[in-house]
């Protein structure tokens, strides 16, 4: 039996310990905010925060996060008012929205590590998160906005 801590809550799992965290979150724990986009760490749609760092849930196994704190979009902020979420709304960032959870989690992790990232630092940190709708200009602007405190 594996014990996991997700958004401050205990979860247990007695299935395949190599199951990826992504499918555990979505299918077993019902936390569908985290998205599947590629399964091989190429798109960032599945980004969650493990302890204080962004991680791709699709290539993280359930057993990898034992004893660590997993934060998903559902646990990022109780009322959805994390500065990044607020900035995203202020600038109307999303189009279809599918990639945005991953983008927001990545941006939140970036700001934890670097509260005032530069243009180049934002572009580098966010380059693993694809947006097929092409919201990149607004994503960058929203991160600047969040870093200034909305």
């Amino acid at each position: 039996m594996i014990k996991l801590k997700i958004n401050g809550q205990e979860h247990s799992w007695d299935g395949d310990p190599n199951l990826s965290l992504l499918w555990f979150l979505r299918d077993e724990a019902g936390l569908t905010g985290t998205k599947y986009g590629c399964g091989v760490a190429l798109c960032g749609a599945c980004t969650v925060i493990v302890d204080k760092e962004a991680a791709r849930a699709c290539i993280t196994s359930v057993s990898d996060v034992v004893g660590r704190e997993v934060t998903t979009i559902e646990g990022l902020h109780a009322t959805g008012d994390h500065p990044v979420q607020k900035a995203w709304r202020q600038l109307n960032v999303p189009q279809c929205g599918f990639c945005q959870v991953g983008q927001i989690m990545q941006a939140a992790a970036l700001l934890m590590e670097n509260p005032k990232p530069s243009h180049d630092q934002i572009r580098e940190a966010m380059s693993g998160n694809l947006c097929r709708c092409g919201c990149y200009q607004r994503i960058e602007n929203a991160i600047h906005l969040a870093s200034m405190g909305v």
Partner: protein, 775 residues
């Protein structure tokens, strides 16, 4: 009025209730609204949009036309909450907000007290729901205004009756009806029951709001209704649906289109922890339309186990007739075809004679490969089939078509099929095809349990309905003064129609009409030809469709002509467009014109010229740029909108390309939400740059050679244009609305290519650019 929400239908939709905002309506008010709806709905006749409209669209020629009836689209609860139905698919254009916003505007409802309810797939009830072809605002601006105006009129009539005053003395203002003379006022909620008893006014008696009194339309100040849910992870997409007892399935499909399952061995797959069953899925013979390809499904307790189980399957396939499809050989075949005469689809003057007499003939031959849609959300659908009833949850662009196809596939009546429309995590035309929902339906029927079918990204790349592959060859004849006197364009590409009918070798009118036969230049001798090409894979609509290769060819050729005649690109372009006029397409048998009547939506070269001038002005055409930088321009009319783009490119010594600035001018007629127009155009620049740099699907031995986002890369944020500016042409008072979702893409790649030429002197004639600039 009516309310759609039927509590039974919300099953499995627990997470969706939030985005749809129904849960904010108290249970009491919902029940009351349902009560009001009672006999009302039964009495409601389906009305078609009337002929009095200031402009005509092709809306009524779409399957099931339009329905203009407030009782179908609007519900008012006693607490004043107005629920407006969104009947089209939301895939990122903002339509789920814009169409209800139009209704709210005409009703004079307060948007903060409006909730949006997503319709099921039911075209008899709602009219056409096929969200495709950049048609939603174009076809529904007027009907939605009429629906709102009807609802407003009914509220005003009810208030006038209650006060015993003439209806001309009352007026709906901000969610209330006012009687100025007496200072009385009454809220929409208090009037709901009475208004529901009023007769629906005749459409030609309606008085639409004066646009100068609009609070919402044309302003761009209202965020999309799903904004909060998207940013908090609550927005519900296809794969987010969960039902009690639901099984998870992934499917191994034939790697060659039209191939069949040979044999399979499931022993190892069954050993994978969490795998419950392995079973065959029925496939349809090629051309298979939107029907499933067939294969072997692995059923498991979660998606991860199902994927692992599939990896462990041993399967053999019988490849069939398309097993030899090879992109290298096919390109040579297309090029060969483009160099010989083909079916003439437009002819003005005598091109052969004019080319013969020309002082110079410039030839441009352009190659554009297959593209995969790769929306960030791979296809996924949930089905719950019980006996002769089916309920589907799926991110489909055409819920009405999906309903028909599910009914046919399962052999049950359409009335027994419920299609719940989830949000789409991108569509781009891929989700116009409901094969993935049909797979879920077939599996659920067999398993007698709810099933979710998840396509992996590999499935998505390998089994897409691909954007066509084409060779576009243009010969332009110049006279001694450098004036273009002859233009022959041969376009050869497998047609989308091949997915529906065996033996298809020519493009359909809707493809020929995307930038070939509707080419707007003022040239005395024009001939367009379409040589034969047979398809060896499923071809489908991809955002902007055939406009991508046609705009690429035509606008690249403009750049080439500017160069050989030593003229400015923009001046060359304007000269070719010629005088401001309505282009005469009488020589074309079927001009198609995006399904719109030519009278309301002609090719107007004055508008084409205007976007060129506007983008040149705002985008600083002719500005001096640093060494290694270049400016390129292109214009294209598609989906009856006019769009011009200027790209500034920088190419370094190693051939690495960056895009410092993009400017786009769009004339899409009357519009609803300029902020969403801007986001669509920003996104189109990204998609255009992505396909120009990287987009290519190739085949070998009938199989797609790419598999995921490593070998079919998409543009990333660190390569995105630094600035994309969008300039919207203010509409004339009577300019009908036109498309926005797609038209932004086609001019991007040729503007980029023209810019690269300006920067480097290198002319790129085949996409993707790939390593072509590397030194």
């Amino acid at each position: 009025m009516n309310i759609l929400a039927n509590p039974r239908k919300l099953r499995g939709f627990e997470q969706f209730v939030r985005p749809i905002k129904v849960e904010k309506v108290s249970r009491r008010s919902m029940l009351k609204a349902l009560g009001i709806a009672g006999g009302f709905v039964l009495a409601a006749p389906v009305m078609s949009r009337p002929a009095f409209a200031a402009y005509q669209t092709g809306a009524d020629k779409m399957p099931h036309g339009t329905v203009v009836d407030p009782r179908v689209f609007v519900a008012i609860a006693p607490d004043g909450i107005v629920t407006i139905v969104a009947h089209r698919a939301e895939m990122g254009t903002g339509v789920r907000t814009s169409l209800p916003l139009i209704v709210a505007e005409e009703m004079d409802a307060d948007w903060s007290r409006v909730r949006v309810q997503q319709a099921h797939g039911d075209e008899v009830k709602y009219g056409n729901q096929d969200t495709d072809g950049s048609r939603s605002t174009r076809h529904y601006l007027l009907p939605m205004r009429q629906i709102g105006a009807s609802a407003r009129t009914m509220l005003e009539q009810a208030a006038a009756k209650r006060w015993g005053v003439p209806v001309t003395e009352v007026k709906a203002v901000n969610h209330e009806v006012l009687h100025d003379a007496s200072g009385r006022r009454i809220g929409f909620g208090d009037l709901a029951a009475d208004a529901g008893k009023e007769q629906v006014p005749a459409i030609d008696s309606l008085k639409l709001k004066d646009p100068k009194n609009f609070r919402y339309l044309g302003k761009g100040e209202i965020g999309i209704v799903d904004l909060h849910d998207i940013t908090t992870g609550k927005a519900g997409y296809g794969a987010d649906v969960r039902l009690p007892g639901m099984k998870y399935a992934v499917i191994a499909r034939p790697p060659v289109t039209g191939g069949k399952l040979g044999s399979f061995d499931s022993a190892d797959a069954m050993k994978v922890s969490g795998v419950e069953k392995v079973m065959e899925v029925k496939g349809w013979p090629w051309p298979s339309k939107f029907q499933p390809l067939g294969g072997v499904a692995v059923i498991a307790r979660n998606t991860g186990a199902a994927i692992k189980g599939r990896d462990a399957l041993k399967v053999t396939w019988d490849d069939g007739a398309n097993g030899k499809y090879d992109s290298v050989a096919y390109r040579a075949m297309l090029e060969d075809a483009a160099r010989k005469p083909g079916l003439v689809v437009r002819k003005e003057g005598d091109v052969d004679a004019a080319l013969k007499s020309a002082d110079r003939v410039i030839v441009g031959e352009y190659y554009l490969p297959h593209l995969a849609h790769v929306s960030m959300e791979p296809p996924a659908a949930v089905a719950d089939v019980k006996g002769d009833r089916a309920e589907i949850w799926a991110p489909v662009q055409s819920p009405g078509g999906t309903r028909e196809d599910v009914a046919k596939t399962l052999g049950i009546p359409e009335d027994n099929v419920t299609i719940n429309m989830t949000l789409l995590g991108g569509g781009f035309g891929r989700k116009s095809k409901c094969d993935f929902a049909l797979e879920a339906a077939l599996l659920s029927k067999e398993l007698n349990a709810p099933v979710k079918v998840q396509w992996t990204r590999e499935d998505d790349v390998r089994h897409d309905f691909l954007h066509t592959v084409s060779v576009e060859r243009i010969e332009a004849g110049l006279d001694k003064n450098g004036k273009v006197i002859a233009w022959r364009h041969r376009s050869v590409a497998p047609s989308i129609a091949s997915t529906f009918a065996a033996g298809t070798v020519h493009q359909a009118p809707f493809e020929l009409g995307m930038g070939l036969i509707d080419m707007p230049f003022e040239i005395a001798n024009i001939q367009c030809e379409n040589p034969e090409a047979a398809a060896h894979t499923r071809i489908g609509w991809f955002r902007s469709v055939s406009n991508i290769p046609r705009a690429f060819a035509v606008q690249s050729m403009v750049g080439e002509l500017a160069h050989v005649t030593n003229r400015d690109q923009k001046e060359m372009l304007l000269e070719l467009i010629g005088s401001p006029r309505i282009v005469d397409l009488s020589s074309v048998k079927d001009p198609w014109n995006y399904g719109e009547p030519y009278s309301s939506y002609p090719i107007d070269t004055a508008r084409l010229r205007r976007v060129v001038e506007l983008v040149a002005d705002k985008g600083g055409w002719g500005r001096s740029v640093p060494k290694g930088h270049g400016l390129g321009i292109a214009v294209h009319r598609s989906f009856v909108s006019y769009i011009a783009t200027i790209v500034e490119v920088a190419v370094d010594e190693k051939g690495k390309l960056t895009v410092p600035q993009v400017d786009t001018a769009i004339d899409c007629g009357t519009y609803v939400n300029p902020e969403r127009i801007q986001s669509q155009i920003e996104g189109a620049a990204i998609m255009g740059l992505s396909l120009a740099k990287y987009g290519e699907i190739t085949f070998k031995d009938g199989k797609v050679q790419q598999k995921n986002l490593d070998d079919f890369p998409l543009l990333r944020i660190d390569e995105a244009p630094l600035v994309t500016n969008v300039h919207i042409v203010p509409p004339g008072p009577d300019t009908p609305p036109s498309g926005v979702g797609e038209p932004g893409v086609p001019p991007f790649a040729p503007a980029l290519i023209n810019a690269i030429f300006a920067a480097t002197g290198k002319r790129i004639r085949a996409l993707p650019i790939g390593k072509q600039l590397e030194t």
